[in-house]
């Protein structure tokens, strides 16, 4: 639960920045090199690299080498912590059942 919250925080922080969000959305259309991304946005190449590093730290993007180029792409599992409903509801019901047990103990017979 704690680990999940941290992963979620990192994803939110990474995507809270409009430039990073735009880069991430652009990558959902297919993999791209830093140079390609620099051409798509009014952002300097070092800034694009920095944004990509942040997206990688958040697990949203990964990269592979293709000859002399490094291609960035969306990590398919990256957003999973945000929509992993199974994990969410397992934690939810476990906690609620504990509350139900406490309530039953308090209630009149």
């Amino acid at each position: 639960m704690q680990r999940t919250a941290t992963a979620e925080d990192r994803i939110f922080q990474a995507l809270a920045d409009p430039s990073r969000r735009a880069i991430f959305e652009s990558l959902t259309g297919g993999e791209a090199a830093v140079k390609d991304l620099t051409a798509r946005f009014p952002i300097s190449q070092p800034a694009v690299s920095q944004h990509l590093a942040t997206l990688r730290d958040a697990g949203l993007v990964n990269r592979r080498r293709d000859g002399r180029r490094v291609l960035y792409r969306v990590e398919p599992e990256g957003l999973r912590p945000l929509v992993d409903w199974i994990s969410h509801y397992r934690a939810f019901w476990t906690e609620r059942v504990e509350r139900l047990e406490q309530l039953l103990d308090r209630m009149d017979p």
Partner: protein
């Protein structure tokens, strides 16, 4: 008293719990069906009713871009034995079913929530559509936060 999470590890379409309660079914039933008691362990309920078809809401604090509302509709009620209702958060459309069985020491309570599969398929199919869909939802979510 013990709660046993019986959700299989690789499960993608349901969560399930088996709970041994040291209280009689009548008492557990009240906790499941009286709004004042529901508020104490589950969530505050609004317009709650036991007639099948009754639409009601469970409300919690807004989180992120979610307004904290669970939209519900009563589906089936068998007093002291079982109750189930639709549990909808955004486009996550699930059903929660509670079943009570009397035991020597009290009540065996089963909780099963089903219906995640289709949603997960939509989000995780790996198709580009799925990513675009998620991207748009995320933007809406993040705009809500900002």
């Amino acid at each position: 008293m013990s709660v046993n999470d019986t959700t299989p590890k690789d499960q993608t379409d349901r969560v399930s719990f088996e709970v041994a309660l040291s209280h009689p079914p009548e008492k557990v039933w009240r906790a499941l069906t009286e709004p004042a008691l529901l508020a104490e362990w589950l969530l505050p309920a609004f317009d709650f009713g036991l007639a099948p078809g009754t639409r009601f809401k469970l409300k919690t604090d807004p989180v992120g871009g979610w307004d904290g509302v669970v939209a519900c509709e009563m589906l089936a009620v068998e007093p002291l034995k079982s109750i189930s209702w639709a549990w909808v958060v955004g486009d996550i459309d699930t059903v929660v079913a509670f079943e009570l069985t009397p035991t020597d020491g009290g009540t065996h309570l089963s909780i099963v929530q089903t219906g995640f599969a289709e949603q997960q398929k939509q989000n995780w199919g790996g198709a580009r559509y799925g990513w675009r869909h998620m991207g748009a939802k995320l933007v809406a979510l993040l705009d809500g936060v900002a």
